[in-house]
Each structure stands twice: as structure tokens, then as C-alpha cells.
Symmetry: D3
Subunit: 311 residues, 6 copies
């Protein structure tokens, strides 16, 4: 190799210049503080939760009724420890307790209490997820069995992570719900904000590009296809031009609505009435009555033949 060692001698100086920016650009480094939640630990928590919620599909083979309790009990114990620590970190950071890490105990105790509340919801969550699996099997003619839904469907993966993140969101746990939902977003292309509320029997098919905003309300038996946006129309600002956070900015979708691919529904006051169908590529910013069907008017297309003549 032809490494020029004189060039390498410049690296210490470069290092000083980079580190110098850690002082001048303080907002994008995290130095001298107590640790943030660990991304890898949060992902490991999701992986363990997946084993508990859908045992026998992914990691551990050979489970049966006489050994599954040991397996799940062991996982629950580990989850308790991991979540307690990570939630404690998130709470302490949220509280701005950056100067005095010795206050760790209070936040860990609070983290444990919230962890117990979260874990306590898992049996009920399994009932909800069973309805989502059912909805996928019933809604996709290409689906051969419920096992295939659990094994292969990115929609179910995104919904499962959303439902877990939403439980944490309801417990006022900062950071971690969003870390979870963005992890699922990266894997599935489906972006469901943990703050949304979504009823049973929810099905997202294909899913890439779906965005469901923080203040959406979605009923039961709703079915959504790829590329659907349930978003905001515009953002309110206060007198100084800063965004007002926390308002309802995203639509309400009532029970038994189907929304086809690439449809866009915007606005916090927009309500899609129950039993409606929203067609592919439709763009809606106003409410729609129950039992409506909304499709693109005959598409405004210009069709030319090979000779260039319009038809």
C-alpha cells in the first residue's frame, strides 16, 4: 500500500476541528449527559415481544404446551429488566435531569411502574392482534392461511409495532414509542404515529408509503392500501409563528371504511363516514357521509395513438 504518512499526520488536527464543532453546534451531539435510551435495546425489546405475541413463528422452534410457559416467563422477566432501564432513561432525559445523574433511582422506579402497566396489557393486546390477523386473511384473496399473515405480511408487522408503541404512548413514555414506530417504518415503509388511535380488525395491504398521522382516529374493520396518506392540511402557528403542537390535525375514519391505493385524506376535521369506500388516488380534504363511495371521476387522460392522434 502506498499510504503517505505525512497526510495521516494531518488527522489529529482535523480531529480537533471536528471536536471543536461539538461546542459551537451543541444541539446535535449528546455529550456529558446521562444516556439516552439505547436503540439496540429497544429493537431487542420488540423482538422479544414478537416472540411472546406470536409464539412459534420466528425465533424459537419446538414450542408446545408444556414448555411454552417457561419460555414466555423467561422472556417476560428479561423484558421487565430491559424496559425498566430504557423507560427510566427516557423519563430522566425528558425531565431534563441531565446535570445530576445520581437521581437515577427515582426514574428507574417510575420506569418499573410503567413497565408493569405496559406488560399487564399484553394478554388483551393479543386479542386485538388476533382480529388484525383475521382481517388480513379475510381481506386478501392472495392469502393462503392465517399463518402466512403472521409470517409474511408487513402490514401486520407495522400494526403490531404500532399497537405496542401506542400502549407506551398512552403511558406518557417519551422517545421510545417513536423509536419503535420508526423502526417498523424502516422495515415496512408504513409510518403509523404511535399517537393515532386504531380499532380492531385493521388491515393494511402492501403498505409501502402509508402515512397515518398522530391525531388520526380510525374505527374498526378498516382496510387501507399502499400509499394512503391520512395527513394534516396545514399547521396552526401561534403569534410568533411557531407551530402549535397537540391539536387534532389528522382525519377520522369511521368503521368499515376501505381506502384504496395512494388515496390522500387530509385535515383534522375531515370525517370519512362509516361503511364508505375511498377509491384509488382520490384526494379528499372534506368530510364524507357514511355509506359513500368516492372514486376519481372518469380520469382526465390524453390518449394518443402511435400516430400521435388524440382519441
Amino acid at each position: 500500500m502506498a499510504t503517505d504518512f505525512r497526510l495521516k499526520d494531518q488527522l489529529p488536527n482535523l480531529t480537533k476541528r471536528i471536536v471543536g464543532t461539538y461546542d459551537s453546534l451543541g444541539s446535535i451531539n449528546h455529550l456529558g449527559h446521562c444516556p439516552l435510551p439505547s436503540y439496540d435495546e429497544v429493537v431487542a425489546v420488540l423482538d422479544d415481544l414478537d416472540e411472546i405475541l406470536f409464539p412459534g413463528y420466528r425465533r424459537r422452534e419446538g414450542l408446545h404446551r408444556s414448555n411454552v410457559e417457561f419460555y414466555v416467563g423467561d422472556l417476560i422477566g428479561r423484558l421487565h429488566d430491559r424496559l425498566t432501564r430504557q423507560i427510566g432513561r427516557a423519563l430522566r432525559h425528558e425531565a431534563g435531569a441531565t446535570s445530576d445523574c445520581n437521581t437515577i433511582e427515582d426514574f428507574e422506579a417510575l420506569g418499573q411502574a410503567k413497565t408493569m402497566l405496559f406488560l399487564d396489557r399484553l394478554p388483551e393486546l393479543r386479542s386485538t392482534l388476533a382480529t388484525d390477523v383475521r382481517a388480513a386473511y379475510d381481506g386478501d384473496p392472495a392469502c393462503k392461511s392465517p399463518d402466512e399473515v403472521i409470517f409474511c405480511y408487513p402490514g401486520l408487522e407495522a400494526i403490531t409495532v404500532y399497537r405496542l408503541a401506542h400502549l407506551l404512548y398512552e403511558l406518557d413514555i417519551p422517545f421510545i414509542p417513536r423509536m419503535m414506530s420508526e423502526w417498523a417504518h424502516g422495515r415496512t415503509g408504513i409510518d403509523i404515529h404511535p399517537g393515532a388511535t386504531i380499532g380492531n380488525y385493521f388491515f393494511i395491504d402492501h403498505g409501502t408509503g402509508v402515512v397515518i398521522g398522530e391525531t388520526c382516529h380510525i374505527g374498526e374493520h378498516v382496510k387501507i392500501y399502499q400509499g394512503v396518506t391520512l395527513g394534516a392540511l396545514s399547521f396552526a402557528t401561534d403569534g410568533e409563528g411557531n407551530l402549535v403542537r397537540g391539536l387534532k390535525r389528522h382525519p377520522t375514519i369511521e368503521d368499515r371504511v376501505v381506502i384504496y391505493a395512494n388515496a390522500t385524506i387530509l385535515g383534522g376535521e375531515t370525517v370519512i363516514g362509516h361503511d364508505s369506500v375511498i377509491g384509488s388516488s382520490v384526494w379528499i380534504t372534506k368530510s364524507v357521509d357514511p355509506h359513500s363511495t368516492v372514486v376519481l371521476e372518469k380520469p382526465q387522460l390524453r390518449i394518443r395513438d402511435a400516430a400521435g392522434a388524440a382519441k
Copy 2:
């Protein structure tokens, strides 16, 4: 740490509640059965196949004509063993042979036979993939060399996995083709159902959000951009309201068609005639003659200037 051990004492009880749902919600756990195909093994199979189909690009460096046969021969041997086992599992599960795992031999033997048929198609598959690489290089002005296509293009990755999964689909192997295609979907945002039929010289550019349905027929020299959906219009149901599975629900795209970004083409009877161009964001539910060009009619836009005046 401030762990409260009294709280942890509640975990065994919680475990019992969770495990209790495994009985009451039987359809979303896989206990006491013979094992499903292993997701990790299927991914490893795809990784090995990639080394065989495009040697020298990813994992193993330093291949040349006098050592590549050893490398490939060794990979083929391992693939045979892995696929035989996973296909055997998939076939046994499909057959509902859940109560008696001792019947393993028959399914493994069948698995091996199907594995041999699959592997036998690989030389021919390489010819097809060479046309796909060529199509990408010819079709993208930003592409510097065929090597770049193999190295970087998510479209080629999705097409490669699709072509492998389609071979397995044609051999009536359950589960595994869909596991493969969803793995590629997660990595590329491109969702091609293994049941679709696609001709040579196929090119998908950018690709995120592309959906190609199970019963699509796509000809040769077809080019597709990001966000294109080739989907179903609606689903037929039988007398009891259940979906009828297996009908042709997705369109036919003839040779030399180009479909630009975010176009949507729906319906099992929709045929896009050869040598046609479908413009960006177009929404089509009816057939189009050969040599047609379909673009959005002058877009229906409302343009206001800074003062709010319409223009």
C-alpha cells in the same frame, strides 16, 4: 437500581395470563406442531443464491476462473441441503400434517425432488437476469456501468428475488416464495407477488411503492417507475360473502410498455397494449390499444400568486 422486587413477583402471574391466551386465541400461535420454514434459513438461501447468480460482487472476493467452480459447487451443495429441509417443512405444513411429525420422510423426499427441479433452472435464470441488467443500464441515464446495476439497484434486487420466488411458486411450493418476496419488499419497497409472470428485459427504476399483483402478466422490455400499482379493481365474493381466490384480478402489460411514476393500473381484464407509454400519476381501469401514449390531461390545478390571485 431501584427495582422493586414486589412488582417483579407479579410477573409469574402475568405469564400465566399470557399463556392462557394461547389456548383461547389459537390461530395466532404455532405450538405443538412440526416446525414452519425458518425465516433465517430462507434469507440465507437467498444470500447464497445471490452469490451464485452474480459471483464476485458481494460476499466473496478474489474469485477467478480457476476457483469459481469450487466456490459455486460448494454453495450449490449447501443450498441443496438447506432448501430440501425448508421445502420439506413447507410441504408438510401445507398438507396439514401437524399431528404426526413422524411422517417426515415423505415430505423431505418430495422437498428434495422439488429442490432439484428448482436448482436445475438456475443456468437459464442467469440468462434472464442478464437481460434485466442490460435493461437497467440501457434505461437509466444516471447509470455508469452494468456493475453499478448489480451493485446498487434495488430494482434488480427485487426482480432477482421475484424470479427465484416465481420458480418456487411454479413448483407449487407453499409459504417460501412469499417469504422471499416480502423480504425483498422490506429491503426495496418493491412488492412483486411471486405469482406474477414477467418477461425478459424488465426494469424498475427507484421502485419504492411499486406493487405488482399475483395475476399480472407482464411482457418483455417493460419499464416501470416508483409508486406504480398494477392492482385489482375489486374482489369477487362467493354466495357467502367470502373472497373467491385464484381469479385473474390484475392487469396485463404487453411488450415494450413504459409506466411512469405513481401510475395506477387496475383490473384483471385491463390490457395495456404493446409499445404504449403510461404517464406519471395516471389512473387507468380500462384497456389501452397498442402504441398509445396516456398522460394526465392538462392538470387541474389552482395556482395563486403571493397576493392570492388565481392565475
Copy 3:
């Protein structure tokens, strides 16, 4: 297991058939050449760069002012060695130096020189990224803190990788910029070509499906939502029908423009004037004056009630 060893005896013959295609289909294998850049090494480089650009968020915990210089200095040293080697490989391959690997020295020396130029830009790059973080926090009402942007936002991940890849692109380094941007594409669904030029305070929200072409020019304070395409209208061909590479094919977006979800803007001569707003799902192929607002004209929808009556 019921492996039939007679079947396995067919594998050596199959191996020969596959290897035979390596001669006949030469363009899709990489044999007997000097090695290409290693994908795993390029990803490791990105991972190390992330630690330097945003210290304290991901991999290493417990950094503070008195130890961070050691950590960064050590990473910079490793990056220097890794990048020097990979850039040397890329340059040699680009130069077609495939027959004589002994010329390695020249390309490694050139690789080192380019590596030094690249690393030298990192302090300045941190200033730019600080504006991107700020833009995300200011632009998303669901965002709780700048830390959340760095931790969770796929838009920032894609922009960071783009800005790094763009530096390498400007240094005429082949292959590696594209490998980087496709890696980010796979993780975020956001596809920014390394050749695009993008100003400070750039924010992409949600992001799945965004495509930004090679010859785009984007100003400062621009905000883009999911599914937006900044693409080409059509490709120029030379007299022999081959694509002309290198022309400006993608639009120019001036300062302070907002482009909402799924909008499509095409063409190398299209300019979106500063301070304009492009609405969701809009499709534009012509320039727009500064301070314009472009939204879909009242959507052309057909709405039927439950009885099928049009409304």
C-alpha cells in the same frame, strides 16, 4: 432424513452448467478482476461517520468533553484507512485497470488524497446538518425535541447520507456515492441521487417514496413530504438511440418551497419559484412563479351514497 444420494450426485453437473454461463454471460459476474469496493466496508464507513457527526446518540454511550476527542480521533484514523482502500478500489475499477492489479499503488495514493479532501469537509458538514435538524424540529408539530430528530427521523438519515455521498460525488469518486445512497434508500424509502445539490435547512417528513434525481437543484429551507418525485420528463437520445447521459433532466426548487405528499414535479427546465407551495398529489411539468400556491382544483370525484345515487 430421506435424502436421496443419487439426486445429489447430479449437483456437480449442475455446477458445471452454472459456471459455464459465467463465460457466456460475462457482463453479470466479476471474475479475475481486482476487487470492487466492499459493500460491507462502505456501510461500516457510514456507521463510523454517523458516530462522528452525531456523537452520543447511537453506538457509544458515556461520551463527554474529556474523552470524546480520543473517540473521534480513533474513528477518524480508522475511516482514513478504510476509505483510502475502498476509494482506491473504486478508482482502479473505473480506470479499467482490470488486467494488472500490480498498479495498485497509484490508485491507493490517489484514494488517500481524495480521502483527505473528503474528511476535511466534515467540520463544515456538521454545520449544515445542524440546519437540517433545526428545520425538522421547526417543521413538524409532532416533534418533541431536536434529539428526537436525530434519533428517529428517517428524513434526517437520508439527508445525512446524501450529504456525505455528495461530497464524494464532487470528488469524482465512482461507485461509492451510489452505494451509500442506495443503502439509505433501502432503509428509509427515500431515494436522493448523490449528484443533486441541496441547500441548508432541508426537511423531508415521513419520506417513503421520495425520489430526487441526479440533476436537481434545491435551495434552502425547502420542505418535502412523502411520495414526492422530482424527476425527468423524458430522456434525450443520440443519433443511435442511446441515452445521452449528463444533461440536466430534473427540476430546480428555489428557497423556502414546500412540496406536499405525492406531488410530482418533472423536467430539467422546470423551476419552482421561491416561497411557493405545491399541494399534495399535484403533477407539474412547467415552471411556477415565486410565491405561488399550486393545489389540485376541486377534486374530480364521483361520490355515491349507499343507494348508489350520485351526489
Copy 4:
């Protein structure tokens, strides 16, 4: 790099020559047979057993009374599956069932039965190991606590593995006991044949170089130091000069005997009577009465001073 590709072209020929020796030298390769037990799996089994026998010391932290049953139950389940498979392999190989692997079921069933017998002995084994820990703590003035014995003492590690391997040996399981004992030998320098019988409260201090032969009988409360050999005097041969396997060839050590460093005791009829002390470096081939003390007679040394004068 200066690789000479002409040299590399000789490698295929070399490969053929090596593979050619697999036919001519058949006894040192294992081709075309059913698999032997996996070394890695056997080591993993030992690692799991260590967690069960001494919970809380090595791998898993945070065990307490309300979660340890889940952890152990889960490990037991995995051990059952792993051991069943490996013991099945060992039995089949022992039976010479190399030509027809389809007979797998019988050996796996037998393997499972033996696995159950083995696992059933674990509670009792823990009682025995508790006596060994006690003996080490009582016998070493440098030892600070029983925890230190479990954590650090190679003697206990070797004895634990021996006791496990001996259980398998008693169940007539081939191969695996020896694989286990050689693994411990490699880690500790202590070589105890699984066939030896050893009473409670056994303590080996330091231990490197200790050899305890297959047909040794060792009583209770015996203490042995580094370098001690309990070996054979000579081997009986049959009429054709072949070794006679299975005779008692190694000594008997009765209760409460201490054997100091590097002592050598040989012969199948040699009995060291109870409550005896065998001094360091002593070499014994005959029996010793109970309550004897055997030390080297005043050592036969030649001591010279600096001037070379004998003293």
C-alpha cells in the same frame, strides 16, 4: 498485491490430489456417513448445564426465586432437544448404521429415552457438587468464599464436567462423554476419564497435569494437587499383541486420602488405604495401608556452593 495467477491455476490440481487421499486413506475422513455428534452442540450443552447447576454465576444475571424456574425450565427444554439429537447421532454411529440413514427414528427415540434418564439425575448431581464446592473451600487457605470456588476454580470446572460425562458414560452413550471430558481437559489441564468413579467432597487444587484413568476408583473427601497421575502400569495384550480393553488398569484411592503435587500412582491393583497422605513427587506402584504417610526419603540431591564444593 503481486499475486501470480499462474500459480493459482495449480490449485485445482492440488485439490484433486488431496481429495484423492480421501479414498486411499479412508480411516481419517468422515464422508458419506450420517453425521457424528456436533462438537459445538456438545459444548453448548455443557454451557447450558452449567447455568442450571450453578445459576446466577455466569451467563444470566438478575435471577431470583420468582423467575429462576422459567429460566431453568426453558433451558431444560432446549437441553432435551439438543441432547436427544446428539445422543441419537452417537448411538447410530456406534451401531455402524452408516449405510442407511433412514433408520434415524429408532436411534432418536433411544436417544430421547437416555436423555430423560440423564436429566433426571441432575437434582441429585447438584447435591454432590455442593460437597465438592465445600471441599474446595475447606481445603484451600487462599480461598475467600464458596462463590470464589464456583467462579474461579478450574478444579471444580473439571469435576463438574466429569460428573456430567460420567452420568452419560453410565448410560452407555458413546463419544459424547469423552468429547466433554476433553473439552474440560483443554480448558483446565485436568484429564479425568468419564469412566472413573469418584466419591463426594472431591477437591483438585491448581490441577494442571492431573490425569485420572478410566478404571480409577476414588473414595470420598479425597484431595489431589497439580500434576498427579493415577495411571496404568502396563497394558495387557492378547495372544495377537492387541491391547485388551476394559480391564481395571488404574489405582483405587480410598476415603480421606490426600495426594500432593506431581505424585504418580500406578496400577490396577494398587490401593491407597483410607486416611493416607501421599507426598509431593512420590512414585508408587504398590498398595499402601490405611493411615499411611508416604513422602520422598530425604531427597537425593547434590548441592554445590558457588565454588563448586559439594555440601
Copy 5:
């Protein structure tokens, strides 16, 4: 596979029996307590220390004067954190603080203070180790260069770990010194108790089976061969028959002594005077004057020729 599921149903009962022994045999499990030092962490600490003490030999390549400070500074920072935590654990356990883990802070602070004292000794330790390397090179005719000593000699590995463990031992840190020395023992067969005191220029050749007891004093320029025991003669017991811990039980070896293979030197009052040579296989329990040479008197051998005649 022929798994008999009725057999597996016995496993939960077996689990209960094993867990039952955790109550009745409390001394050999570690449940419900605060964690012990982690063996893996202690090994990682040794690995990092090795990089600092002998940079450029093992893990990290490409170190030079302008980057080594970053590398070492980064390792020192990590070592500080790791050692602080592990020493804190060891101190707390030693203090019997098992019932109230919330007292963690005090022990971590004490752990940090001791860590700083330990790290502060590293520069001086390097001077000492340089003498040991020199002694090995000077003392072994088979040694080609000092690099070979650092790279290959188990004696140096054992001495290095001993010197580190001895520093911790002097700081009254429980558990960890012994964990370190037993780790080295397992790798080299050389067992040096951390409590021994050993002067500069120490060389152990081959080394397997060497035992150096807790209360040995060894001078400078001492050379020891394989199988040498520096041990205790017998152990003092108190009135109740318990061992008295802490007395000097092992010999003193003065400067410039050479001890050849398998020699045994016993007793706390035994002093081998400076400049003495102890021959191979010698057994000594009394002091020897300076400048002595001690070898086996003409060996007491019985030599027979082939006909059995004594010679």
C-alpha cells in the same frame, strides 16, 4: 424425528425438582442478590489492557505515533467505565450488601477511586513488562526477536496478567484478581496467585504446570521452567481444625535464581538464596544458601537391557 411428546411432558416436573434444590442447597446458587462481577467483562478488560500495554501486536493494526494516542485514550476511557462497574460489584458483594442493592452508589464511587489508582500504575507497569520481555529474549536460545516473545510466549501472557491482577490485589479488590489469574491459568497452564510478589526480569519458559503460591516472594532476574511448583508444605489449622488463612506458606526465591523443569520447592520458611540453580525434578523443603547448585544425585534408576539383565 421420533420425539415422544409424553416424555417431554415430564420436563416441567423435573424443572420443579431442580429448582427445589436451589432452596435446599443454597450455597451453590446466586439468586436474589445483587450481581457478581461479570466474567465476560473481566476478560474484555484484560483484552483492552493488552492493547494498551503492547500496542500494535494483536487487535488493532496500522497504529503509528500520530494516531496511537487517540486509540489508547479511547481504550482508557472504556476501561475506566468497565472497571468502575465491575470493581463496584466486587466490593459490594464482598461487603455482604446482598439485601439492599440500593446502596449501589457508595460502592461504585469506591470502585471508581480504586480504578483510578489502578490505571495510574499502568505507565510504570510497562517498564516492568519491558524487563520481562528482555528476560525472555535473553533466556531462550530458540527465540528469534523480542516481537516473538510478545506475540507467542505463554509465559509473558501469564506474567502480564499476574502483574495486572497483583495491582488490583494490592488495592484490596476482591474476586477480580483471581478471575483474571484463573483465566490466564486456563490459557497457559501457568497458575500464579495474584498475591505473590515477583521482581523484574521474570521469565517462565514453556510454563505448563507452573504453580506459584499466594505468599511467594520472588526476586529479580528469576527464571522458571515448566512444571515448577512453589507451594506450601502443609496448612496450619486453628483449634477447631479450620484452616488458618493468611500465613506465609510459600517459599522465597532470591535474585538471579534459575529453577529447572518440574522442580518442587515447598514451605513458607524455605529460602532459595540468590544466584542459585535448582535442577530439573528436584524436590526441596529446606532453604538453600546463595550461589548453590542443586541437582538430583545420580538418578536412582534400574536399567535393564533387552534380555532383562540389570546394568
Copy 6:
């Protein structure tokens, strides 16, 4: 945690002090030079060689006559590349080519030539190893089958590594032979210098503590037990007191000699005549005629009964 950040601020200063010793104590760091052979790579080479020499026992299962050639050919190719690089490094370092790494080519080319000579010896080596396996099976009554020798016997492991290292030693390759033999030493406690010459049918039983010096000559059908030293009597020094390297310092063992446990044979002029038996714990520094049997004269022991009376 109670980390005191003021203490951590002392670490940069400590780092400077440590790095300062890299200048003053230059002989024990390796900075600014071209890289030494990588220990991990050398171990990986041994692992690959083990697969080639004894296929089917350890890493890869399912080998049979129709796939083993691919497997071995692939391993040989990798070995060629790895060894070429590591031998090149060793040769360059030996040549003192530390100031100018650009001379790499010559040493790599020389490394490749030596690699080819080494690999060419492997078929023959397998014949030799087959005799060693046979000797172990014939010589140990506890051995059940040749498979057990290959699988479990540390003696065979040490001999195999010795025979490989000796081939490299004969090719005048520095460093690497010793790295290999010390790796085996660490795993088995058997220390065979790569320079020794050893005939076919060599068997070491148990083996811990065996030392075989650099200039030993060992004939065929020799059998050695644990703790045997074949060493030097004393070392010649030149006029300045430096060791003379390279003389024959270690004994010659002729054909069909058996040496029992812990025997010590010293001196370069000592010859143990063929067909001799050297008894356990014997210490020999003079030659022995062929067909001799040497055992300890009736051991000089002092035996007391319980009452202390001599017997």
C-alpha cells in the same frame, strides 16, 4: 451511578503518560511499521487446514464423495490467499523492511511461492497423520475407535499443528510456525517446537505438560505420556555471555521408544536407543542403549503408619 466526573478528567493526562512510554520503551510496541502477521488469521488458517486434513469431523456436516471436492477446492483457494498475505507480512518483518512498506510486492510474491510449496505437501501430510491416528488407536486401551482419536484426542491436535508448523519452518517462514505451535500449546498443554523432527506413528497420550525442544529428533512409533520433557541441559554462551542460538540442545529418541509420564530427558547428545522404555518420573541426562528399560529404582520413600512409626 455515582461516577465522579472530576476523576474522569484525569484520564487524558494518564493517556499522555502511557503513550509517552511508547517512545521510551520502544521494544514492546509495534508502531509505525508495516503490519505483523495477524494472530486471528493464522488461527483461521489452522481451522481451515483441519477441515481439509480431517474432513467431516468438525465444521461442515453432510460431506460425501460428490461434494467434498468443491468444499476442499474452495478452502484451498481461501487458504492460498490468506497464507500468501500472512507469510508475506512475516517475511517483510523478518527482513526488517519496516521503513518502506511500498516494497510489499516482493514479499507477497515470495509469500505466494512459499505458500504453494506448503500446500503442495498436504496430500503427503495426510498419509503421515493417518499413521498418527493409527498409533493412538493401537496405543490406548481406553480408545473405542479411530473416529474418537480425531474427534477428542489433544495429542493428535498438537501433533497435527506441529506437522503443519514444521512444514512452514522448513520453508524458512518466520513467526508463523511459532504462532501456530503456541496456539496448540494453549489448547492442549503440549508444547512441541516447530523445529523438532518427528517420525510417523507418533502418539502422545493425555499430554498436558509435554515439552519437545527445537532440536529434538524423534523416530517412528514413539509414544509419549503427559509431563514428559525432552529438553536442554544448559545453554552455550559466546565470549560475551550471549546465548549461542542454533546448536543441537535437545535429545534424540530412536524408533519404538516409549516414555512414560513425567520423565525428563535432557541434552543434545543424549540418545535413547531404539526399542527402549523410559519409566514414569525418570530423569535422564545420558544416552541409553537400544532395547533398554529404565525405571526408578525402588522408590526412596518414607512410609509412616497412623501412629507415626516408620515402616
